[in-house]
Symmetry: C2
Subunit: 212 residues, 2 copies
């Protein structure tokens, strides 16, 4: 398909999960159609921007006065890999690792956490929301035996680069990285660095500005 060859700008990629969330919410409420105006209002972007976004993927067939929510959601699910059933492992089974294993939104989006690893003997063997925590020494053999797509890194800053290099060497295709260190994507691996404090700082910027 031609539309798949188009390079999708980063800002458009960032809007796709938001479209997905809003439409999923509407579907839960039993809605079946949304006008482009209503979607535009929810997203805080113009209707023309939405059309442009969707045109990267063939347009998603807007008809008449709006979009069919179920169809649109299905298309977004395919694009966003929700239908792929990606398997993930947690590397670093601390509180954040625990919270992520338990995070309803992850399962709801078709991701399955199939393993958890730590180097802390206090944690090894324990249960992480239904997943047994294994010794990080066994991560290589686990990856050989299982189909692991994504590693979720929630481990100390100082260990991150080494662990990431090892995982990439083992053929892991995606890293969801919560470990402060800024890792770089390349043609072998896609990396998403999460900086939780970025949103806290946006919050405090706005509070600060309100008070001035």
């Amino acid at each position: 398909m031609d539309s798949k060859e188009k390079k999708v700008p980063e800002v458009v990629i960032r809007r796709l999960p938001r479209y997905y969330r809003y439409l999923d919410e509407l579907a839960r409420e039993g809605k079946t159609r949304i006008s482009s105006n209503a979607l535009s209002k929810k997203m805080g972007v113009t209707a023309s921007q939405i059309r442009q976004d969707f045109n990267y993927f063939g347009g998603f067939g807007q008809q008449g006065y709006g979009y069919n929510i179920i169809n649109l959601l299905d298309e977004l699910k395919k694009l966003l890999g929700v239908t792929r059933g990606y398997n993930a492992i947690i590397v670093g089974a601390g509180h954040l690792g625990h919270a992520l294993t338990n995070y309803a939104g992850i399962k709801r989006r078709g991701f399955k956490i199939i393993g958890a690893f730590d180097n802390d003997t206090q944690k090894i063997g324990k249960d992480l929301c239904g997943v047994k925590i294994s010794d990080i020494k066994n991560i290589e053999s686990f990856i050989k035996k299982n189909d692991v797509d994504i590693a979720i890194l929630s481990l100390p800053r100082e260990n991150t680069q080494e662990v990431a290099d090892k995982l990439i060497g083992m053929g892991i295709k995606g890293l969801w990285n919560f470990s402060f260190v800024e890792l770089e994507s390349n043609d072998k691996v896609v990396i998403e660095n999460v900086h939780l404090t970025d949103s806290l700082m946006a919050l405090s910027f706005k509070m600060n500005r309100n008070e001035e």
Copy 2:
């Protein structure tokens, strides 16, 4: 100052924490200056975009070949409220609440977590990284006695709106909301809704596209 009256676009606000992170990293490495080209490369935006961003705040005095990292960082700290020493409380002391209390980046940015609340009797009285977990019934008296700026919501979806309304009624100025529910800012309160899965979906979009 005139520059403070300018409405800062959301995209610019979103870049400010990233400027802060990059410059903070450089300062840690002992660097004192950065050229606008180098900063532009790190940020993935043009040097002219950076100048435009900074012009919302008076320009930050770029001189000669680049920026003074320490000065720029100081200005960003002021803008982002890092120097305000905002006090925060955790509402919902599960694993995510625990992880956030322990999250080094939050302290590093000048925020202090001074209380934690839950309705689970198993948790009440226990320690959350140095902060005692209190009964959520006592949250009102705590807020009356203490100077609480921000509430960090990491509680179940179904309780969120009610708790948020209560906190806003008590004069809390900022909500950092991890609870799936999309809360709306108004002239009384700034709300930052965090959707962790948005970045996971951006990751899986890119993985999915690589494989196609």
